[in-house]
Point group: D2
Amino acid sequence: MIVVMKKDAQERDLDRVVSRIRDVGLDVHLSEGVEHTIVGVVGDVRHIRPEDLQVLSGVLRVVRIMHPFKLASREFREETSEIQLNGFSIGGREIPVMAGPCAVENRETLMETARGVRARGAKVLRGGAFKPRTSPYSFQGLGEEGLEFMAEAREETGLLVVTEVLSPGDVELVSSYADILQIGARNMQNYSLLHEVGAVDKPVLLKRGMMASVEEWLMSAEYVLSGGNQRVILCERGIRTFEGYTRNTLDLSAVPLVKGLSHLPVVVDPSHGTGRSDLVPAMARAAVAAGADGLLIEVHPRPEEALSDGPQSLTMEEFEAMMKSLGPIAEAVDRSVAGVDSTA
Amino acid sequence: MIVVMKKDAQERDLDRVVSRIRDVGLDVHLSEGVEHTIVGVVGDVRHIRPEDLQVLSGVLRVVRIMHPFKLASREFREETSEIQLNGFSIGGREIPVMAGPCAVENRETLMETARGVRARGAKVLRGGAFKPRTSPYSFQGLGEEGLEFMAEAREETGLLVVTEVLSPGDVELVSSYADILQIGARNMQNYSLLHEVGAVDKPVLLKRGMMASVEEWLMSAEYVLSGGNQRVILCERGIRTFEGYTRNTLDLSAVPLVKGLSHLPVVVDPSHGTGRSDLVPAMARAAVAAGADGLLIEVHPRPEEALSDGPQSLTMEEFEAMMKSLGPIAEAVDRSVAGVDSTA
Amino acid sequence: MIVVMKKDAQERDLDRVVSRIRDVGLDVHLSEGVEHTIVGVVGDVRHIRPEDLQVLSGVLRVVRIMHPFKLASREFREETSEIQLNGFSIGGREIPVMAGPCAVENRETLMETARGVRARGAKVLRGGAFKPRTSPYSFQGLGEEGLEFMAEAREETGLLVVTEVLSPGDVELVSSYADILQIGARNMQNYSLLHEVGAVDKPVLLKRGMMASVEEWLMSAEYVLSGGNQRVILCERGIRTFEGYTRNTLDLSAVPLVKGLSHLPVVVDPSHGTGRSDLVPAMARAAVAAGADGLLIEVHPRPEEALSDGPQSLTMEEFEAMMKSLGPIAEAVDRSVAGVDSTA
Amino acid sequence: MIVVMKKDAQERDLDRVVSRIRDVGLDVHLSEGVEHTIVGVVGDVRHIRPEDLQVLSGVLRVVRIMHPFKLASREFREETSEIQLNGFSIGGREIPVMAGPCAVENRETLMETARGVRARGAKVLRGGAFKPRTSPYSFQGLGEEGLEFMAEAREETGLLVVTEVLSPGDVELVSSYADILQIGARNMQNYSLLHEVGAVDKPVLLKRGMMASVEEWLMSAEYVLSGGNQRVILCERGIRTFEGYTRNTLDLSAVPLVKGLSHLPVVVDPSHGTGRSDLVPAMARAAVAAGADGLLIEVHPRPEEALSDGPQSLTMEEFEAMMKSLGPIAEAVDRSVAGVDSTA
């Protein structure tokens, strides 16, 4: 961190800056420029914030040199983290697809969906038992019963289960059913929840908040990592802009960007990212081409009957066609899609 | 709600739309236009979503006629809700100011701040004991000890206490100390938390999410109201835009807008809304002129020593000057600032 | 400007940075920190961009210390520029109101509007003769005939005339009729046009682009100023966000912010800034309270007949009520509204 | 277009709505619902705007059924427009790449770049002679001399030339040198300029404004099309969001979205879309996977010497590697990259 002093800064201003830095156990390196004195902060700067110094009298600007995240950074771990799961991994050469309904609605539809996506190559079943819904009058999910249906679908199909946890008090319950805990976009900065999932022994799929910068997203990952849970999977799912034709704007540039900044795997959810099933297949292909380590796809046997997010769900036929189209794209970037034979 | 069918919609498409609507207990009114058949939905449409119908075959567009919030709406309650507190109210003619540090740091500084803002007209002491912080390495608040200090400051000064609750599990604890529970911007769509504060007997100050539309904000209020807690105070605190000179963009147009849509009182937080103490007084004045029912202002006796958000805190002298300047503005819009004599 | 070199930067990297800086006639000041060497750029840095240095090998970060605008800055001119007009000024103690229809539609309606706003205190008549319209099928304005009507209205009422110029080729024509040339939001970065109006002897009202940062806005002002035209009036008119209830989000914090950064006067257009006539009076009051140097208000005797932007136009009665309400607000911030007797 | 009347609308309100519609030569279809009367507008609704009716007394909501663009729509022309150029096309099976420096700097560098990108498969040379620059102190381009260099490069290499035109007055000049006229993002709503290029016999590459919705972008295309120029190529180049690590957020979902709405070809500029050369190759691949009809890539033999936008330019080696990687992606979506042998 570098502190640029104002031209007219006083001796006592400088002294105060220096002692503020030393107070937290860091050292300083002073250099007097022609117009500005510059104070370099030496040591681990995670415990001091630019704002702490910016507010001091005589300070013109504070410039951060290092990223504020550490455990999540590529500097901390050079190799991409490959999250090992039952029989496959996320972050390796193979790209797994997680598919299923937005919400678990009933046992029959879930089983039908699970069998269908399994047969078409999916590795993980997605589905919400606890649903964060904008309206208190909307269907809020089946709760534990939904988790039981998910577990039953795993039993039968061998698919792993990813499902959202909404509240710190539910982490233990959801962990007892799920293979991967999902933190939804609206909870990306729910620090009590991040703290709680940082302490469990389950991988965490951390969705980007719809208005979160990449830096904030990585800082939320840092919460989980610093809690002791090293298995964090990042999920880009669209950010909010002024564009009205799509529900969100899927930020695919976040994929190569984050993979440069961090060792964590990055998966993409084009279903929430666009909100339109007609755009999902093209954006799934683009995500793979951009380097995504996995995909999260909403599939429903009969989208028009879905209790939530029908307009963004693929039918089984659309899902099948999409899966087939992914193989050659993956191959073109030297990867493969788990469960899909690209030579077929 | 109105469903516009496509030109080429089939008879069975229309039948399906109609039966989907009737399934949830609503009625329909059909009208055949020259090019499009239009289906009007008759009854309480809160339990059906435009998406449920949009996804059906043959549907061109679904148009919502009514707002999705009910209990929060002006139609539901014509008169502005005046939240009665100990000796004053929010939503009436008088405008109370809530002031204090961003975070409670220690007993002495808090008491000093409380006495200072009390002497200058504040009615409520603000201060965070549980702090939502972007970085896991930043000061996270004093926790219950901070609540005790707040209670002690209330005891001595007579100020009421508003403080943030971060987690459903903390609602009972925080309620036992605070007079008003604050839901922070990052938690505006933390539905578990909204559900929990909907069940307590304390007013709730609900901050607008930095990415939230006004409609979503009112839907979050609807969660609390539908839980049984009628005392909701809305707080505009800035939304996220591309502008870099300010931390957020304070959306003052939300004040008259929300007051037209809803009966709930609206207060403004120009400290977080701008992130810059030099802009706070002007924006506080503008907020009062725009019709705000209260203000939330960060004050610190020595901002340069603040453990969080120093750059946006007013000094005691700046707070005093600001308070004095608010009186005439309030009077110009036929109101007054609680604790400030505008004729002085 | 400060260049922070990477830890592992080579000697030849540093040499290249230094020579690149010296090539444009600037000097350097080197300081070797514990981890990073820092290169301070000495001299007028307007002619070198951070990007020019950022791209060089071995460079970690380039930090701008000074604002990129000079003639527009408070440092360049400490006193607020007061633009003298015929009998009043913009940027002084008195706040002038500019009012009129969005587009000039016909002679009669314009004259009626001009008389009406004149009687209620307006100092300037606004009205578009050349209209930038999203659709090629919409009314594009009356062109020169509209300018003639504006001139005739000035003749009769004594109001000055502000009107938009869309194209460099029209600057001479519009200047021959108008007292103030308006550059619309969509043209804020139309540099050919800025160049052209920089060379005429008429004040320029420069609207902020709907997605322009404050810095870009001031850089556009710099174009006009550096062209030789010192009479630039900035106009905040709302920025684009995700909020759907309003047409734009009026950024009132830009008023005190810009007045801190620049000596140029700042006026506010709450009509375009909200797109809703019901919000205009409250936002006009808030603008004055925030420190605005003027207001731009759409008024139409019969908004429901307006050929453009009817929903945001005030009726004459609404305009009158708004004007009356502004006086006390202005007085509360030690100013007055031109043409309005606040003691009445 | 459908007008929903308020519950309490009066007979005379309805009469007024009906006569307003009939006044512009359209017909109405009335239907009385249980709660709301609905007025259907029958005929070509391009000449009436929702706002014209929204402002009328008694109107609750106006709903547009049709898109506001016509000539640009898929309904108007079902087949994708394939723009024929000299020896190749844009919008067909083959994907051409346009490459070159941001700005034309001097003859030698341009020739070197042209030869280099030609040898690696580019079909069009991009390069700015007139540069829209945020700062009046930045290099503004070589003007006509730059155009001459471009023409000379075409002469030698056979590459076609695309270059930006900034001002209506320059359209004739630029047309005499260029094969494709570029309208930059900042000029997407410069209607004088759109009008002018609508009248020339050259294809127009229309960049999306950084603040433009897809609908506004297509409306700008409509300006050119309605002027008589049918050869419009759309170019996605990133929109402005709050994300700070990238210059813009490249909206790749706009590719399949626009191709659904419109028959016009869509190309992608990942260089401006990200502002970072390290992200360009991945995003170029993603663009092809998403269905882009072409790419616009900044290439500079020595990016560190570029007079503008160096940080986003690929070196010749990076460009070569990127081009090679595109072939298999294109093949995976049943297309090919012009000039690249994907079987090699």
